[in-house]
């Protein structure tokens, strides 16, 4: 319980996190602390470990060395702790991962009903509010396959929010979308950030980072190369690798 003192401020504490896939080392000692309400953008070249890192935070990937404490709960092999942490963390994936055999409404209410044990009525009421918040209340009875990519991703955000999480993780949420649909998803995310949600976002959408990020982390080869506010990162990057990467993605 010694961590309890930290959690008033830091909702996520990751210290010296290591992760191997067989002999390939994906994370080489990553440390990060995130405060309540902070919006963090993580960027870097593919294979740099940024997705792997946020996936260790809700134990979709198991870290092999180091410590991860989420809202005062340390992630270990204890299954009950993992389930407790997952209830407090919402996640949005690059490929949406909606459940194709369930309607939009069922997608959103599934976890509140089965995990939070809410009544169907309460879950549907909250789902309706969330669908309005992400701008697609009229799609509730459709199946995911009948929606556009942008609409699917907004349903995925509503599905994650339905559990009323304290933290939201976004793993390249706009990378699989057609250009004209990126904005509708980013708008929802900006609104969420402004509402005070703690967010970790892996993305290359630098407009989003400029608009709402409090901190940015540049990952390369399994380590954090540089961190700072968007101002510092965009105007005055310290590391040569950061400069090179930024020049590559900001060119077009």
């Amino acid at each position: 319980m010694s961590q309890q003192t930290n959690t008033d401020q830091q909702i996520i504490i990751a210290r010296d996190v290591h992760k191997w896939f067989d002999s390939f080392q994906a994370l080489k000692g990553v440390s990060m602390e995130v405060k309540h309400g902070e919006v963090v953008v993580i960027f870097g070249p593919s294979g740099s470990g940024k997705s792997t890192f946020i996936r260790t935070l809700n134990r979709l990937e198991e870290h092999q060395r180091g410590t991860i404490i989420i809202d005062g709960i340390e992630l270990s092999h204890d299954v009950r702790n993992i389930e407790r942490v997952r209830r407090e963390i919402g996640m949005v994936f690059q490929q949406f991962n909606l459940f194709p055999h369930l309607t939009v409404m069922q997608n959103i209410t599934l976890a509140p009903i089965w995990v939070r044990k809410w009544s169907k009525e309460k879950a549907e009421e909250i789902a309706t509010q969330l669908l309005e918040r992400v701008g697609i209340p009229e799609q509730a009875q459709k199946f995911p396959g009948q929606l556009s990519g942008g609409q699917q991703q907004r349903v995925a955000i509503a599905r994650a929010l339905a559990m009323q999480p304290k933290i939201m993780l976004f793993d390249e949420p706009t990378s699989a979308l057609d250009p004209e649909m990126i904005k509708e998803v980013l708008d929802v995310m900006v609104g969420l950030a402004k509402s005070g949600m703690t967010m970790l976002v892996v993305t290359h959408e630098m407009s989003f980072a400029r608009a709402v990020a409090h901190r940015m982390y540049f990952f390369d080869a399994g380590t954090i190369v540089e961190t700072g506010t968007p101002d510092q990162i965009f105007k005055n990057p310290q590391e040569a690798r950061t400069k090179l990467f930024l020049s590559q993605i900001l060119e077009h």
């Binding site: 809700n58 996640m91 459940f99 194709p100 976890a111 089965w114 995990v115 199946f143 995911p144 396959g145």
Partner: protein, 402 residues
């Protein structure tokens, strides 16, 4: 440039004449082939019909139709089979009303078939007036069940439960009866036969083996080593052995190991063999479906905090089972026909009954063609309806498919 964006009507569908010309007479070679093919089909059908009506001698079937249906089931207890049939037809009618078009062809076909059989002119003493009346009640019950189901007074859940109750009640209570009971005296399975046995073994085999197959498929992917190795062992051993061998093992070896007083009924033993065999194949089919589910589905469910049992039952299995409907129904059709192998362990199923009838009278011996064609027709009707049902099921569950 506003003209370009104007919608135009789709091209008109071809008329019947155009369709025939395009598909059958597009050039002179195709026209020749069409005429040639039509001639062959015409003469084949005519000669088959002439044979069936004039030459063929259907007396083995008309002489003992009940043997094909129920075997030696005591004629004075026949009302039990009749009552069971009525329950099923009534439920079928009700299901037609509740689930609408998916069951309509079955119900209508069965109603027409039963109605035709009731009035079919047969000069045979076995088809008594009560039997004809019974046949005629079936279509009436189907219709009454349909009206009741359509009136929405019966929820679909109740119909499903009724099916379960009836499918358990018929083979466990109504048909076997009890020793010493006056209403339902015991009828040993040794006198059951014909279509009754075929349906019992195949419906029982399919319904019992399916849940076991799903469990084995899940077990094979389990992270618990004991469960995993048991599942692999079971599946690979059973799949490596022919069904005939399994049936022999269950009917002979199982009987040797168990003391005489605790002997399991031989039909149950055969059913156990069929369930073993079918479960192993179902397991591999279902495993194929499980593997087709993208890992992102499980990740998303995990990220929402769902427990493993809920991830499997709510996310993975519903999608996996829908994917394997065609292969699983195909396997069940094979199983349905494979039940004829129980003939080898001395159980008189439909095919076995056919062979028995051929030996009934000396003049029947040369009538194999007629008897086997009749049996083939019955198997075909059931198999065809199974594959039709699978298509309907795919359509019903295919909503919102990616």
């Amino acid at each position: 440039m506003t003209v370009a964006s104007k919608d135009t009507a789709p091209p008109a569908p071809p008329t019947a004449l155009e369709w025939v010309r395009k598909n059958f007479f597009s050039n002179w070679i195709n026209a020749l082939l069409t005429i040639l093919g039509a001639t062959v089909v015409y003469f084949a059908l005519v000669s088959l019909a002439t044979w069936a009506i004039k030459t063929a001698d259907w007396s083995p079937i008309t002489a003992a139709p009940l043997l094909f249906l129920v075997g030696q089931y005591p004629r004075e207890e026949l009302w039990r089979v009749g009552a069971s049939t009525l329950m099923v037809t009534f439920l079928l009618g009700m299901s037609w009303g509740v689930w609408k078009r998916y069951l309509r062809p079955f119900a209508i076909f069965l109603a027409i078939l039963m109605g035709l059989l009731a009035i079919f002119p047969l000069e045979t003493p076995t088809i008594t007036l009560p039997i004809r009346v019974f046949m005629l009640i079936n279509p009436v019950l189907i219709f009454l069940g349909y009206r009741l189901g359509r009136s929405r007074r019966v929820p679909s859940r109740v119909v499903a439960i009724l099916w379960l109750v009836v499918l358990l009640l018929i083979p466990l209570v109504i048909l076997p009866g009890f020793t010493g009971s006056s209403l339902l005296p015991q009828v040993p399975t040794s006198v059951w036969g014909g279509l009754l046995i075929t349906l019992l073994l195949s419906v029982g085999g399919i319904l019992i083996s399916f849940p076991f197959g799903v469990l084995l498929a899940l077990g094979r992917r389990s992270s618990l080593p004991v469960v995993k190795w048991f599942s692999i062992f079971f599946i690979e051993v059973v799949r490596g052995v022919p069904l005939v061998t399994i049936l022999f093992m269950f009917s002979v070896i199982l009987a040797l190991f168990l003391p005489t007083e605790s002997r399991i009924d031989r039909v149950i033993r055969a059913l156990m063999g069929i369930v073993f065999f079918s479960a192993a194949y179902t397991a591999e089919n279902v495993r194929g479906g499980l593997q087709a589910i993208p890992p992102g589905q499980v990740e998303a469910a995990k990220a929402l905090g769902l427990k493993n049992v809920h991830i499997t039952s709510l996310i993975v299995l519903p999608q996996a089972l829908r994917l394997v409907i065609p292969t699983t129904v195909g396997q069940f059709i094979s199983l349905f026909k494979d039940t004829t192998l129980v003939y080898i362990v001395g159980i008189n199923d439909l095919l076995g009954m056919g062979n028995a009838v051929l030996k009934l009278r000396p003049e029947f011996v040369r009538l194999q063609m007629e008897v086997y064609l009749f049996i083939a027709l019955i198997f075909w009707i059931f198999s065809y309806f199974m594959s039709y049902a699978s298509l309907q099921l795919e359509k019903a569950l295919g909503v919102g498919e990616r």
